[in-house]
């Protein structure tokens, strides 16, 4: 049926009576197409249903949770296992903790969230919400629905913690959900870590729930920011001892940053060396060496594109210098 026929058939309903023959759906008269806006009426600011306004309550209904559990266990985990070959350390450090808790990890790749979720033990794995950048993960309906379903993602503003975002995260914790947060606010632009923002610490201080520091190593090489393809290789996830939020949020930020840096040191060296350096206050920061741009890039080791030189990430990185 042509568009003209559609118009003619439905046209009688609206007494439209236009003699113009439409060539596309947009040419159809109102109400078959959207109405025009009167010139004399100012348009109200449009409240988008995407971004931070995207509603994700549906993703925490029981049938969706069941579907996501199946998706995580039978799709995400095998895929992550094949691509990232993860090893996990430190699960014993938080097994005595009673949820909900806030998992705070460094962030260098889109692989980070599925990796952490796939290595997370039960019952944490299926009772966790990922706070995700509203402007990136929730900018289209399709992406929003996918990430809300697959990662149980909830949109937050990464630039600032708005009252809405904070209330939403607070109500999730109050509802018994664990949170996965990347306090750096986004993926690393150069492979090194970034200074932490206050969201995770502020939420912990407000809710009184512990923060579990998490260090992720190797994903930045497999799927760095801006990469057009994904590489396979080894990764390592190290969970730290939960931090009880008994300090003000501002101090908690530094405490969390130090804890994740110490886990990074531990992943690169060994627990005893990392522990001693942490005690001496000489833990190398995740933000990398304070040097020129090329030396920072050089310290990351060979590019993953250089397949002839690929080996395990712990051997590749040139920094921190080995003792």
């Amino acid at each position: 049926m042509s568009i003209s026929e559609v118009r003619d058939r439905l046209g009688a309903v609206g007494r439209l009576g236009s003699s113009v023959r439409p060539s596309s759906l947009r040419d159809l008269p109102f109400p078959l197409s959207a109405p025009s806006w009167p010139a004399s009426v100012p348009r109200p600011p449009k409240r988008s249903e995407l971004g931070v306004n995207y509603g994700t309550d549906w993703a925490r209904r029981y049938p969706v949770r069941l579907a996501r559990a199946a998706w995580t266990d039978f799709v995400t985990r095998p895929l992550v296992s094949a691509v990232a070959q993860p090893s996990v350390e430190g699960l014993d450090r938080f097994e005595a903790v009673v949820g909900p808790v806030i998992f705070a990890a460094n962030h260098s790749s889109h692989l980070d969230t599925p990796l952490v979720l796939s290595v997370m033990p039960e019952p944490w794995r299926h009772k966790i919400v990922t706070l995700a950048a509203a402007d990136y993960f929730f900018d289209t309906r399709l992406k929003s629905a996918y990430f809300a379903f697959a990662l149980n993602a909830v949109p937050i503003e990464r630039i600032k913690v708005s009252r809405d975002s904070a209330d939403r995260a607070g109500s999730l914790i109050a509802g018994g959900w664990n949170l996965l947060i990347f306090p750096e606010g986004g993926r690393s632009p150069d492979g090194w870590g970034q200074a932490h923002r206050g969201g995770a610490a502020w939420l912990a201080a407000r809710s009184g729930r512990p923060i579990v520091p998490v260090h992720i190593q190797g994903t930045g090489r497999l799927l760095p920011r801006g990469a057009k393809r994904i590489y396979t290789g080894e990764t390592k996830v190290t969970f730290g001892t939960p931090i009880i939020p008994d300090l003000p949020a501002r101090e908690l930020v530094g405490q969390l940053e130090d804890a994740i840096a110490a886990l990074g040191d531990e992943a690169t060296t060994d627990w005893w060396s990392a522990r001693r350096r942490a005690a001496q206050g000489t833990t190398p920061p995740l933000t990398g060496p304070d040097a020129s741009a090329w030396r920072r890039a050089w310290a990351l080791g060979p590019s993953p594109k250089d397949s002839a030189r690929r080996c395990s990430p712990a051997d590749e990185r040139r920094w921190p210098p080995k003792p």
Partner: protein, 528 residues
Amino acid sequence: MPRPGFVLEVDRSTPPVLIWHGEGFRLERLPADRSRVVYAPEPLAPLPDPDAAIRQALVEPMGDSAPLPELLHAGMRLTIAFDDLSLPLPPMRRPDNRQRVIEAVLEMAADAGVDDVVLIAALGLHRRMTDAELRHALGDRIFDAFAPHGTLLQHDAEDPSELVMVGKTEKGEDVEVSRRVAESDLLVYVNINLVAMDGGHKSTSTGLMSYRSVRHHHNVKTLQHSRSLMDRPNSELHSSAWRIGRLLGKHVKVFQIETTLNNDAFPSQMAFLQKREWEWDVRDRATFLATSRGLDVLSPATKRSIFHSILAPQAMTSVQAGEVEVVHASTIDALHRQQLVDVEGQSDVVIFGLPHVGPYNVNSIMNPLLVMCMSLGYFFNFYIGKPLVRPGGVVIVSHPTPWAFHPVHHPSYIDFFEEVLSATTDPLQIEKVYEERFATDEWYRHLYRTSYAYHGVHPFYMWYWGAHALEHAGATIIVGGNRKAVRRMGFKPASTLADALEMAEDQVGRDPTITYFRCPPVMLANVH
């Protein structure tokens, strides 16, 4: 925050606007640069706890009235009168305001040990309500407590043994009221104020009196000098009703309880009916198309049945109690907050799209006389200051105007339409020659008292209701109506709105200015 009403100046970018057409609606494009559309304010937020607000109003009354609990005592005769089924429109979802208020009053009466309590539906000359209609208005608890014992009454304006003359006003107006009311220690009147015409002394002086009293304010002279019916200080009808009500107040203590509603007139499934057309989303457009197409294939009776099953989600926005006049002033303020729209100046043509229901055809047919009453009586009078259309201008009405009458509800209308209007449409002539005969006709009286018929004189009032508009406007054109029925009333039929606008040019000249009054929801134009 609900948006206030506003006036849209139509330009080329304005989409077609929705115009009601009885049990249906149509989309029409209005001429650009000389048309305007008056949109109603959005529904106000309802009272968060209406039952608490009612209790507070009863114990902290307005004016010089004592709190209701202090007026109640054992051994007294208490009469509770309430508005009939003509209010609100469309009928509201349960619980109705009347149920909430009367339950609160009865709780206090029970606490005070009042045994002699009678409820009266203040019908005036309207038809009696069915049991189902009473249940809907009052709720099951009240109905079951009073109806089986004969203490839930419906006012009978033609029962000589149950009417009593309490006197005459200074203007010689008879005040003949229900005997039960006159002999009560306290009359509590429970009102729903849908439009500014309702409430105040008009509640009692219309709803609880006889034809001998009502005729003093329901006549051609008062209605021609009520400008408008919705503006009490400028309404002759209300002046008369106030005189009568004040005299009644000297014989019986009246405790008035008035409530207002927001204008949330249609359920969410039909949200497009209340939305401005350019704000229709995909769902609204789909609902409109599906509804319109569905209605096209249904019979008039089926459509009527569907439309009359609509219950409005209207909610209470205010409740006032105490002394009649102080209460009513406060009610009107609350009503204006919801309904008032400022409009600059008059136009050559005004367009009204009539919906399926008016005060006198709830669960019934909107016959041609009711079309006249709704358009020239109600819609035309929805103004303060001056009418939306200039003197000598044209009123265009959109309604199917079927030559159809409900034989049970409107028997005298049939004869009025056949006999009276075929002879004359002049209100004064009609009043002079025919009114008394119809008003005193034994058969109509019998049907009014024992069946569900409007009083024999009621069709006359429908005609008088439009007397001011008939005098003011130069012509009335009805779009899409039964041509014979339209002509019988002295109006002009038109097939389409475009035809009607072209016909209007004969009366008001080329390229006339046009106002489309997009009602419902109910609003009141404050014309400067």
